[in-house]
């Protein structure tokens, strides 16, 4: 079985966001694999270790720097990579079209991705890819079992956990709690340098969503801070909760 994993390069989640000339300033920002996608890479590698998968291909659409995200995934244990060169301002539609074009040629049995990117928070691309390719999909999985061409997955659902079955090939997107991604070993990092990575240009399509402006949220300011004995502080906090935040106590 061939597994293809879509990874996006994103800002480190510790990054502080600033604007420059009305855009998000990426200067000096540490770039990582989107944490949700990293979990998908780990899931794919585990399938290979269990001999369920034969090959793990990593695909990333983005700037040249996305090569680092691909190399990281290869160092974790993926077999080869494809960098789809695309403008960083591509929207979810354009991203999905570009990735689907490459996936179609690769014809994998399973497509994995994170269910959301930690930067734009859109939760659209995996589902859109599935629709373009006419494949089943299921989102936000926390467990995956594959048998006889059918994936059985546990998913985070609204108000509980749902178990779904989908026939492969399918697009399946991960929640971060699915697994604990490994750190690449030194040997893995060395090997990754020799693994093949192909570079292709993204299919040119117009964005569907237009960004009008970026802004920073109003900075919250610190309010009252009590540094006193708990016996003094607790009644004040209770008073604030009841009279300012106006909460109701359950009797």
């Amino acid at each position: 079985m061939k597994v293809l994993v879509c990874v996006k390069q994103t800002f480190d989640t510790e990054a502080k966001i600033e604007l420059k000339d009305g855009k998000i300033n990426d200067a000096g920002i540490n770039l990582i694999i989107n944490p949700y996608d990293e979990v998908a890479v780990e899931g794919a590698i585990q399938l290979k270790e269990k001999k369920v998968a034969k090959e793990v291909v990593v695909v990333s659409a983005g700037a040249d720097t996305a090569m680092d995200a691909i190399r990281t995934a290869l160092a974790m244990g993926a077999d080869r990579g494809i960098l789809v060169k695309q403008d960083v301002d591509a929207d979810e539609y354009a991203r999905a079209v570009a990735l689907a074009e490459v996936i179609k040629k690769e014809n994998p049995d399973l497509i994995l991705a994170g269910h959301v990117a930690a930067d734009d928070g859109s939760s659209q691309v995996p589902t859109r890819i599935a629709e373009i390719l006419g494949l089943p999909h299921v989102n936000v999985i926390t467990n995956l079992e594959i048998a006889d061409g059918v994936a059985t997955v546990d998913c985070e659902a609204d108000g509980g956990t749902a178990t779904y079955e989908v026939k492969l090939p399918a697009v399946i997107s991960s929640q971060v709690s699915w697994n604990e991604p490994r750190y690449p070993s030194m040997k893995g990092i060395m090997q990754a340098k020799k693994k093949p990575v192909e570079t292709v240009d993204a299919v040119a399509v117009e964005n569907k969503v237009k960004v009008l402006e970026y802004a920073l949220p109003e900075a919250k300011t610190a309010g009252i801070k009590i540094e006193d004995d708990p016996e003094v502080a607790a009644p004040q906090l209770a008073d604030w909760m009841l009279n300012t935040a106006k909460i109701e106590v359950v009797k």
Binding site: T13, E14, I17, L19, I24, P35, E92, Y93, A118, D119, D120, G121, S122, Q124, T127, R128, A130, E131, I132, P136, H137, N139, T152, A157, D158, G159, A162, T163, E165, V166, S177, N207, K208, V209, K210, V211, L212, Y214, A215, P217, K220, A222, I224, K225, I226, E227, D229, P230, A234, P235, L237, A238, D239, W240, M241, T244, A245, I247, V249, V250
Partner: protein
């Protein structure tokens, strides 16, 4: 212009609050219809009229008994073609974002997800989205017929209003061939507490809880306030609370009326997930903890001492 549609988010007849929030908000733009999918759900229709729904499209069929993307999308696509709504809004829930994304691609359309504010006009919508988990905001424009978006729970007010609630039963065009995910099982979260993303009050516990005993203290406060329990990454990684309760950049973004951070230092990833709460209280031993920079009311102290006294005061 055939008005705004709000796709109802429900399971077993339990309607999520975000549905009513969206109906209330959409009412500002004229005609509002609720679009309801399910099996044996027609009796729910009057619920939407209470918040101003002029029409309720009821898609009642075995195929829709539980959410599945294929059949729901096939049905809604056909209805959009027949009735031409100006905009279709979904709650940004697990099902809502799944439904909206597949529908958008099927319609070859744009989609704004997880919007925290919006303005609709004919064939156009302007949406404010919190990106980088709220560290920045992007204002985006989506054009199309209809305009498609998912809206975060808790950002719009629920307002009671009179709606005609005229029930319309569209022809069911989805078939069993459209179904590609089969729900084998659903295990509801067994908790008397409200859900994290819908709660009016959230009480979260972090590293300062030091273990399950500290979490119990936090839970006791939460229950007194009728609150949801949240977690920082530290308490999830330590195994004290589940990931589904994690607040922050790789967890949930919450915006309750009151957020109480207990033993949470306030790493930037955590702040991103809760800074938009209306009121924030923090209890932490470290006076320099970043959580105090966003707290409206901070107590420098040990949660094991402060919370029991706080509970005592609140019970008076």
């Amino acid at each position: 212009m055939a008005g705004t549609w709000v796709v109802v988010d429900q399971r077993d007849g339990n309607i999520r609050k975000v549905t009513f929030e969206l109906i209330s908000e959409a009412k500002k733009y004229g005609e509002v219809a609720a679009v309801l999918f399910g099996k044996g759900v027609e009796g729910l229709a009057p619920e939407f009229a209470k918040y101003g729904a002029d029409k309720v499209y009821v898609c009642d069929d075995d195929l829709f008994a539980s959410y599945n993307t294929g059949a729901y999308v096939a049905q809604l696509e056909a209805m959009i073609k027949e009735y031409s709504p100006n905009a279709v809004l979904f709650g940004h829930t697990v099902n809502g974002r799944d439904f909206a994304a597949r529908l958008a691609q099927k319609l070859d359309a744009g989609l704004a997800t997880d919007a925290i504010d919006f303005e609709l006009s004919d064939g156009k919508g302007v949406f404010t989205r919190a990106i980088y988990a709220g560290k920045a905001l992007a204002k985006v424009e989506v054009t199309g017929n209809p305009v498609l978006a998912t809206i975060r729970a808790g950002v719009c007010e629920v307002v009671e209003a009179d709606g005609a609630g005229e029930v319309i039963k569209p022809a069911i065009v989805a078939t069993a061939d459209d179904v590609y995910q089969v729900e084998k099982e659903f295990a509801p979260t067994v908790s008397a507490r409200p859900e994290l993303t819908e709660a009016e009050v959230v009480v979260s516990g972090g590293r300062g809880c030091k273990g399950p005993d500290g979490i119990k203290v936090v839970e006791e406060l939460a229950d007194l306030l009728g609150a949801a329990v949240g977690a920082s990454r530290a308490s999830v990684d330590s195994g004290w609370l589940g990931h589904e309760l994690q607040v922050g950049q790789t967890g949930k973004v919450v915006n309750p009326n009151l957020y109480v951070a207990c033993g949470i230092s306030g790493a930037i990833q955590h702040l991103a997930g809760m800074s938009s709460s209306k009121y924030i209280a923090a209890i932490n031993t470290d006076p320099e903890a970043p959580i105090f920079s966003v707290a409206d009311f901070g107590v420098v102290g040990d949660l094991f001492k402060v919370i029991p006294l706080l509970i005592e005061e609140l019970q008076k």
